[in-house]
Structure formats: C-alpha cells, structure tokens
Symmetry: C2
Subunit: 432 residues, 2 copies
C-alpha cells in the first residue's frame, strides 16, 4: 500500500511555528497509524530566510513567497502562526478560497474576524480550526462545539492570560507589588517587552470573545468585551481579599442571561473554594456551566511553544481525518443566533470597595446612606485600620446594577469626609 | 426545505436514560441549526412497560422487544444505557452488524470488550462512541483522541469515582471514619445499595483501563488493572497525610513507561499543591501529561442523570454530523500498538507506612535495617506518639520496586518488636 501523505505549509517560524515543526516531527513515526496519513511540512513562510535557516534542519523548506505556497496545489493545509491581523487575514482568506484548509492560533484575528473567515471556509467546504487561539494547549473549542453540544451553556469563565495570572500569583503568595511582579514576569520571559495587551486584559478579552461565540451560538467580537486590567491591584487588596476568604484573579467572564450576553474581562475576588481560585502561576483554566453538564473545568498550559503546538497539531490531525473521509467543513460556524450584547452599565455585579475617610463619627453612616439612595445594598462593611489622619474602610456590596454603583461612587467621591476611593474590584459569584 | 430527522432508540430508561430523553427534549428547538438535523427518539427499550410509562410523557415510544428496534431500519442510532455486560454486548453487536451507530455509557462493557466492539463498528463503517463511560459529563475521550492526538501521553491520572471521593472528602474535612462516611454517602444517594464496585476500586479500574487504551494507543482491559479500595483508610491516616502536606485520594493511575504500561487504582497520598488534591466531594477529574501539552486537567461531574446525558448527547450529535457528511466510522479504534502491561511487583512506588512497635531502643534501627536490606530507602521516619504499651511510627519511603517492598514487609511483620503494620498507602508523584 502506498503511503498517504498530506502536505502542509507553515506560515511563520517563531516560537509557536518551531513548536509545530517539532511536534509534527515527534509524531512522524506514528501519524499514519494514528490518523491514516502522514503530514509533511512542504514549505515554511518566513520573513528572514537566513535567520530562520538556523532554526531547523531542513532550510530547503523555507520561502519568503506567499504566492509560492498559495499556488502550490499539493499543499492542502495551511498553518498560520504569524500572528497579527495583516497580512494573516488576507493569506488565510486566499488559502480558503483556493480550497486549502486552515489552522490558526491567531486570537486577534479570530476574535475580530472569526465569523467572516468561518463563512469563507464554509463556502469553500474547507476546515478553519483555531483550538490554539484560546488557552493554548487546553482543549476547549472542540469540547464546547462537540462534547458539550447537548447543553445550553449559561456561563464561561476563564483565567486565560498566563502573564497576569503569574503576576497575581506572585502578588498573592510572595506579597509582591504589581510593578515588581511585572518586572519578574518580564525577566522570566512570561511578559512581553510591551505587556499592555496582557496587563490591560485585551488578550484575555479576545479569548473570551471567541469562547462566548461558541458557547452561546451567537457571535461575540473583541469589540463587545468590556476590559479592565490589573495595574491598579495592590498587594493590600489581595490581603483584604484573603481576609474575606477570596483570591484576586483576572477573569474573562461571559454569561448568557435571559436578556442578552454579558462579556467582560476584570480582576475579581474569587472565593477560595472555587476551582478557579487554585489555578496559579502561568496556568490557565476555563470553567463552564451548562444545563446538562453542570460545572466543568479545563486546566492546563495557556501558552508556550509545545503546548500551543499540541492544540495546532490536534487541529491538523482532525483535518487529515476529514480529508481522508471526504468530510471537510464538517463542523463550521455554530453562531446561528444573534443575541444582543448587554451594556456594561446594565449588568449586575458585586463590588469590593476600599476607601480612606475621615476618622470621625457619622462618616460610615453617610456613605451607607449614599449607597442606599442608589439601591446599592451592603453585604459587609469593615473599618480596617486607622492611620494618623484617616481611617480605612472596606465595603462589599450585594449584587447591584453597575450604572447605579458608578453613580453612587461619583457622589461618594465628592463627599468631604472621603479622602480617596482606593480600590473598586468586582466579586465573582452569586452568593453573599 | 424538508426537515431532516435522524431516528434513535434508547435502550434503558433508568437514571441516565431519563436524562438522555430530557436533554434531547431540551435541545429540540436548536438541534437542526446546531448539527444540521433533529434527533428523534423513536423507541425506548424497557423491561417493565408499566413502570416506565410513568416516567415520560410519550409512553407510546416504549417497547420490551429488542427485535422490534433491531429490525426497524429507520433507526440509525442506538443509545445503550442499560448497563451490565449481558445482554448489552449482544444488543450492541447486533446493532453494529445491522449498520446502526451506537453510543454507550457502559464502562463495564467498554473496559472489557471495547476492542472487539470497536472492530465490529469499523467493519460495518459505524460509529461506536462512549464518552460517557469515563468521568460522566467530563469531556475526556474526545480530547484524548483528537485534541491531544499530537502528544505522546505518558500519564493519565484520574479521580474517577465520585462515591469514594465523597467518602474521602468527608473523612478529610469532617474527620469521619470510613464506615460513617459510607453510611452518609448511602443515605444521600451517592453510594449504591451494594457499594463494592466503588469502594474496592473496580469502577475506577474500568474507567482507567478505557482511558489508558486511548491515551497510550494500546489496548488495556479491566483485567490488566491492579485495584485496591479505600476500606482500610482511617481518619488517622488522613491526619498524618495532612502533616506531610498531602491529602488521600483514590487515584486511577496509568503510566506509559519505557518498558510497559503500569495501570492501577489505589488510594494515594497526593501533595496538596497538585491540582487533583483540591478535587472534592463527588466531583471527578482527570489529569493528563503529554510531551507537547505538558500538564492538563479535566474536571467536572463524574456521574448523575444530566451530566452523563450531556456526554451521551454530545456523542449522538457527533454521529448525526457524521451521518450527514457521510463519514461515519471516521475515528475508530486507535490502539495500534501492543505494549506490554507491567506486573504490579515490577512497578515502583513510594510508600507511607504506619506501624505499632515496642517502645524501646533499637526498634527503629531494626526496621530501618530490614528496609535497607531490601533496598527500600527511607525518605522520612517519624515517631508519632506513644501509647501505654507501644509507639506509633510513620515511615515514608523513596521510590522502590513494589516486589522488594512487599518482601521487606513480610520480614518486618514477623519482627518481635513489631505489633502491627497499621497502614500501607502509596504516595503519588516523583519528588521526595
């Protein structure tokens, strides 16, 4: 029997591209038995041929011509690991139009243009798979689209940014301040030179948009996600959270409520007993609640050369199986609803609030009264300690409409007895 | 466009069967958009028509004739939720031979005859799916077969029995003894009237056999699994484990070592920092280590009406997609290797050992010397406390060949100064 070989091209040979190359090599001997054919990387698109040649033992695979790959009819699968929107979007579109199947790890692209690319893939009976775009090596897209397809999923909550989880873990376990923990993350290679997308929650926002789209069968784009980063979190907040039995995590939260989808990325107090609370260091996890499965969680490495490559190669193997069985395009876009996205001020949250106020009688009562006027009810109010010229108080609210809470904050901020609103952090979960 | 309907039969209408019926009803409105066709349950096989009629609003679907279902050519999918080996095995085989696709939650059957049934399915180009047979609602079979297919998986470790995990959690958190915790589990419906299969580790053994087969691409049956239950664990063991920074969990452990597969179910000390250590109550979790993905964990409900139905309906939907795309049988048996199974005595473990000995000089040295003779090296040795006529000591060993350890135990048991070997429990993990 002649050996069946499926040819693929790799776009990009950075960390993830190198990982894909390695993982495919590691699987070389078993592929045919495992999936019915071998996958051979025929071409690798790079910008700098010379630099790339040092990375792999087969420099003859390298090219800097996208046209060469696009026009090569023997190449059936394109693996895009360049990142960025342009030219990745154009290349992927051209590949799909040429009948090539595409695997990508590009969360920026999928979070903003996933619908368009899936439609293009469907039109050409191609597969467009992107398991690696969310939570690195952790299987989450396929479980949501297939294993949990019998559910109405009401909530997807993820720790999907390893950099910020590493920083918050250091702040929690070693009482570091944000700036020091960020510096450490940078030194260890967990944070990029420009960490903005991570620490401002944009990266997590892209991932939660992708997951929400699939979980709720309704398109959610990055532009729909309200994002807040972790730069304002202090080790003092984390200490107070601990007193309340909580840790602080940067969560991507997507909820399908009766009247629309809520989707946001925010640092939140998470009760210590919740499975997400013990996800530490650079690990990621995605927690899902469905009407049939109840609670489920998926945990693992959210980034890195080989974990990300694991997800990509899983997608590639799936496409090979589809090619062999003539069923490519078998699972395409599942966004058959068009649910509204709720405005942030219309959503409800619980808040942890830390204030510096005059240390004199009546101040607490005054604050409580303002909160009451805006229908913010107080679950806990604690006078934490006294400094020379002020007292620090911590308030935890019950669930309140975000708009009301912010209106109340404006009034409280203007009160003479209030020196400063030090922290406003949301609290995850329903219970008081 | 005419509505495409795929007809299915349900074998059994117990807890899980009722769950499947409900979940399919819950998905009725969306199915066609989600997967391209509706699934209609056309017949339900039950033993007692009258009793079953009270359970569903469509008693006309009920039948007690398997032949009626088998001979109904319009039925394309058979969902087996009767449990037990016979007649489930015969029914499934006949269904596959008749070209019907089969979904089952039957771990007993899959753990002993999975290979045979998968071969039969492949021969008839049918799907035979069994996601629900391991860890209830938690997606694990499909992630292993597809998402993680780019890995050489070296280890699968699961808390895959909710009953024993509930019992151990109560023993840990509320300091109950085994018998009381079992009684509570029975009262709350977590334990069956005859809890043998759970508390002796057989149930977990079946699940770990199924997972090992898929993870290592080599058939492992229940008969290959060394099982040990939790009936001998005392709250004192749990307290001592805590002093060592560990909890005790019933683990199904499968390892693919260089010289064969190790597969066993045993109560083990698990370091508190390990993700499995915080899996409590009746929750299940499966921890996987692969050469590309590194560590990953899957967590959720391992049993119950709706969680199990979630997994079954996920499989049913996948088959519907395969039928519509003409690619049934797309992923069949993946056991293309024939790795040897290691004998238990040839495997290596670390041990926690609790002994009652004479409270006099030289006893510790005597025990240490016997252990040394059998190449059992001691990682920790602690004199725990003194009673009137004996002292209690706890020993934690380094990694040792099981055979050597048991030989050493025989000698130690016969020592005059040794009153009793109270506990022998394995310790999970490589580190000392």
């Amino acid at each position: 029997m002649s050996k069946k070989v499926i040819k693929a091209a790799l776009l990009g040979l950075g960390t993830v591209g190198t990982g894909v190359y390695k993982v495919l090599k590691n699987q070389e001997e078993e592929m045919e038995q495992k999936i019915g054919a071998s996958v051979a990387v025929k071409k690798i698109l790079v910008r700098n041929l010379k630099k790339a040649a040092a990375k792999i033992p087969e420099p003859e695979l390298l090219t800097n011509s996208w046209q060469e790959i696009l026009e090569d009819e023997s190449i059936e699968i394109v693996i895009e690991v360049m990142g960025g929107i342009h030219p990745a979007k154009e290349y992927i579109t051209q590949a799909l139009c040429a009948g090539k199947h595409v695997v990508t790890a590009n969360k920026d692209l999928v979070a903003s243009f996933g619908g368009e690319l899936l439609d293009c893939a469907a039109e050409h009976h191609c597969d467009f798979l992107f398991e690696a775009s969310v939570a690195g090596g952790i299987p989450i897209i396929r479980p949501l689209k297939q294993c949990l397809a019998g559910n109405h999923i009401s909530e997807v909550v993820g720790i999907v940014n390893g950099t910020t989880n590493f920083i918050l873990t250091k702040m929690t376990q070693e009482h570091m301040e944000f700036a020091d923990a960020l510096a450490l993350a940078t030194r260890l290679g967990y944070a990029e030179a420009d960490p903005t997308a991570d620490i401002q929650g944009y990266d997590a926002g892209r991932k939660v948009a992708i997951m929400a789209s699939i979980a709720f069968n309704s398109r959610v784009t990055f532009e729909d996600v309200a994002t807040e980063g972790i730069t304002h979190i202090s080790s003092k907040d984390i200490r107070y959270a601990k007193e309340l039995g909580c840790v602080i995590k940067l969560l991507g939260v997507a909820k399908n409520t009766g009247d629309g989808i809520e989707v946001k990325v925010q640092p939140m107090l998470v009760p210590e007993g919740h499975p997400l609370a013990s996800v530490n260091d650079s690990f990621n996890a995605v927690f899902v609640h469905g009407d049939a499965v109840d609670d489920a969680m998926f945990y693992g490495r959210g980034a890195g050369e080989l974990p990300t490559a694991s997800a990509i190669v899983g997608d590639v193997f799936d496409i090979v199986r589809n090619i062999l069985f003539g069923c490519t395009g078998r699972i395409s876009c599942t966004c058959y609803k068009a649910l509204p996205i709720k405005k942030q001020e219309e959503t409800e949250s619980r808040f942890f609030l830390r204030l510096h106020v005059d240390d004199k009688p009546g101040v607490l009562a005054g604050i409580a009264s303002v909160l009451g006027n805006y229908r913010v009810s107080i679950a806990q109010m604690i006078q934490k300690h006294r400094e020379e010229d002020f007292a620090e108080i911590v308030v935890v609210t019950s669930k309140v409409r975000e708009g009301n809470f912010h209106d109340a904050m404006l009034i409280i901020e203007g009160m003479e007895a209030v020196h400063k609103i030090t922290s406003v952090i949301r609290v995850y979960g329903e219970q008081e």
